[in-house]
């Protein structure tokens, strides 16, 4: 009945693994990019320092730039990582003032550096270099010409720094993932503990125990527990009803059976044919009452467990007419005035015809039993604002309002024990009403007596005529 699903823990771990993989890849990519940027930022500063140091040593003499290449500049440029270092000083017309390598400085780069400092990654003689250039306008006594200072070094230190940064980022990420997995594992275990507790509590429960589950659970589970509690409450109600029903039914069956036993014992002691005949008549009446009782009990059981009968579209007036005709021919109604009150056009509802027929039978039977002879009993169909109403009305003694609500319960006979009856009729009617989602109402009409009505409200029944 319950499909065995995935393990929550395994599913969480799979999600974690997937997320880790995706985020890890993204993070490593980002880390690589930003580490390279960071390394370039740091070491471009070194290039700047070297350029400034060289610029500091630049002087003009006799109309030409002179420079004692500062050792410090080259030392700075080499960095503690011992990079290979290159430099070139270019004059105003791009001529080399001094250089230790023929760096690939194009005319375009020379033009660009006149506006702003330039940084470039270049490939030179199979080595990848970082090149930086800056232009200085220095003043001499004779000339004022710009000088471009270009420096470059290999990328060893940058790569080492970037590699280091990436490695550290990866290490941090791995640590974080490890911690997260641990924490999630603990959290899952802690969160699932209430479920385990709940399971234990349910397992230990007695089968007759319908009391609410009083377990402390997290908010997310409280709904489940509430639902379980409601289910239990309903089960208790139904269980109670069933037990009461069984008790009442056995009591009801016991009475006529005991009567039969008495009569038959008395008859057995007698030798008189006349008395035997009387006894047989009594036995017959008792047996038929028992049969009827059993029939009604069966109906109740059938109604409660009937899930196969299909509602069809039927005409209430036709049904009422047919039932009334049937009852009018029975001897039981000989002493009463049975009447029919239906509109002269069909009134359609969705209903199960045998159930409605039984309902009418029960109501008419009740009316015949609990009203004195000569009473007027009316079976009718009425179209009201709220829906179609099927009713049985009599002008008998009626039922005090205080007892009316309990009439629908089985074996309650409205304080009337003078007539023969099981007290099941209205209970059956209530069941039928419920299965049709119709409303059963018991009222006292203006003329006195009792009126039992079944209302098929428009909202539910006229939507699909």
């Amino acid at each position: 009945m319950i499909r065995r699903g995935h393990s929550l823990k395994r599913r969480l771990m799979l999600w974690m693994a997937g997320l880790t993989l995706i985020f890890g890849t993204a993070l490593l990519l980002e880390a690589t990019l930003s580490a390279n940027r960071e390394a370039d930022r740091v070491y471009d500063g070194v290039l700047d320092d070297a350029i400034l140091t060289i610029a500091e040593a630049l002087q003009w003499q006799d109309g030409r730039p002179l420079i004692a290449m500062p050792a410090a500049a080259l030392q700075i440029l080499a960095t503690p990582h011992e990079e290979r270092v290159f430099y070139a000083l270019l004059g105003a017309r791009g001529e080399i003032i001094t250089a230790n390598a023929s760096l690939p400085i194009t005319a375009r780069l020379q033009k660009k550096v006149a506006q702003q400092p330039v940084y470039r990654d270049i490939d030179w003689q199979g080595t990848s270099l970082r090149l930086a250039g800056r232009e200085f306008t220095s003043a001499g006594w004779e000339t004022r010409e710009p000088v471009q200072i270009w420096v470059a070094h290999t990328r060893g230190a940058r790569n080492a720094l970037a590699h280091d940064l990436v490695a550290r980022a990866a290490m941090r990420f791995i640590l974080m993932v490890g911690l997260a997995i641990m924490l999630v594992w603990l959290a899952v275990r802690a969160s699932l503990r209430p479920l385990t507790r709940l399971r234990h509590r349910l397992r230990q429960r007695h089968s007759e125990d319908f009391s609410p589950i009083s377990a402390r659970v997290p908010v997310e589970l409280s709904e489940l527990v509430n639902t379980l509690d409601q289910l239990l409450a309903r089960q208790r109600e139904s269980h109670d009803r069933l037990m009461r029903f069984i008790a009442d039914a056995s009591h009801q069956l016991k009475t006529p059976l005991a009567g039969l036993q008495n009569i038959s014992e008395l008859a057995l002691r007698s030798r008189d044919h006349e008395q035997w005949h009387e006894a047989l008549k009594d036995i017959h009446a008792g047996a038929s009452r028992s049969t009827r009782l059993a029939h009604q009990l069966l109906q109740m059981a059938r109604l409660d467990h009937d899930e196969t009968s299909l509602a069809t579209r039927l005409d209430l007036t036709a049904l009422a007419r047919e039932r009334l005709t049937d009852w009018a021919q029975r001897p039981a109604s000989a002493m009463h005035d049975l009447g029919l009150e239906v509109p002269d056009h069909p009134v359609w509802v969705q209903a199960t015809d045998w159930q409605l027929g039984e309902l009418i039978n029960n109501l008419l039977d009740n009316a015949l039993r609990y009203t004195p002879p000569g009473s007027v009993i009316t079976l009718g169909v009425e179209e009201t604002d709220s829906g179609h109403e099927l009713f049985v009305e009599d002008n008998g003694p009626g039922v005090p309002p205080a007892l009316r609500d309990s009439l629908a319960q089985p074996f309650v006979r409205g304080d009337r024990h003078d007539t023969s009856g099981s007290g099941l009729g209205l209970a059956v009617a209530t069941s039928i009403a419920r299965s049709h989602q119709a409303q059963l109402s018991i009222t006292t009409p203006d003329s006195g007596g009792l009126r039992v009505a079944l209302l098929f409200s428009h909202e539910r029944h006229q939507r699909n005529p």
Binding site: I67, A68, M69, A71, R84, V85, I97, A101, T127
Partner: protein, 382 residues
Amino acid sequence: MKYLIAVLALLVLNLGSTARVSAAESHLTIEAALDFNVAEPLIRAFEAAHPDIKVSYHDSSTLAVDRRARDGSPPADVYISSAMPWQVALANQGRAARLDLPEARQWPEWAKWRNEVFGFTFEPVVIAYRLDLARHTLPPQTHRELLQALQIPQLQGRVTTYDPESSGVGYSLFQQDARYSPRFWDLVAAMGARGVTPEATSRAMLEGLSEGRYWLGYNLLGSYAIAWARNHPEVIVQVPTDYSLVLLRTALVARNAPHPRAARLFMAFLLGPKGQHVLAGQTPLFSPLDGVVGPWTAARLRDQVGDHLYPIPLDASLLAFVDPLRREAFMRRWTREITILDRTDDPRPSPSNTADQRTARPETPWPRRPTTPVHSSRETQP
């Protein structure tokens, strides 16, 4: 893992070479600015350790070594030179191979650059004088005393030092001196006033001292001078007590070395304990390694002369010295300073009054004399 692969590769190489005694790998060409008779114990020891490798050793001047490393005609495997700036420049241009050897990795950081250039000696730069000098003045122990000693007229024409024009080592040493103190130029002016004779090599200076032509020599390589003074009692060697430069003779393996395996084996030998032991025991080159035992070690030198030894840093700052414009500026200043006192005997020169004096001076900075070659067959080393 990497190490294991390297070891395996070496094993395979070794097996391969022993199997067919490869003709290509059995040679090693060394181009060195280092006298063969000084380097000979090293070379012999290497050949003894690797009998399958035949070493051809060619010694020449620092500038010739640099030229061959650039032209590569014909290419050598290992280049050895005392001109540190030129060696670093070679590496900077990508002409040196990076050595991934355990010996290279363990080599002290201050004595290597990029694992491509290795300073494998520790040679102090010294003052040398003849005993004659001591008769006339207090022998100089510091640069200041040297400046004072230059005042005595008996030294006229009897002072010698490196020629920065023709000697890469000399030029580097002067540049380094100028970096440490601006009073270096006073010294240059004073030497110029005494009619200093520039020489291309330490050996030429030492020979002049022994012959009596010179009484005082400045900035000689201690390795040669100390060894020379042992056999020539008339020459006294003084390691300056204020500061003494220390020169690291450097070796590098060419990137285009025809015999890379032999070159690597040689470097491993040179930088390893065996080579350094030979260096410390049988050559006057001083081993920079701690823990090497022998008469010629940096540690022993420090014990003898104190703590004021300043090794020329083997790093990118040396590249400034080979910048043509800087070299030109330096040479111009050198020329100016060395002749600044020609007309006067004023011992207190001032660089500010150079302009008018320069105009009145002759073009030739100092009288040049031909240097006599030491070996007929070889060029001499610095």
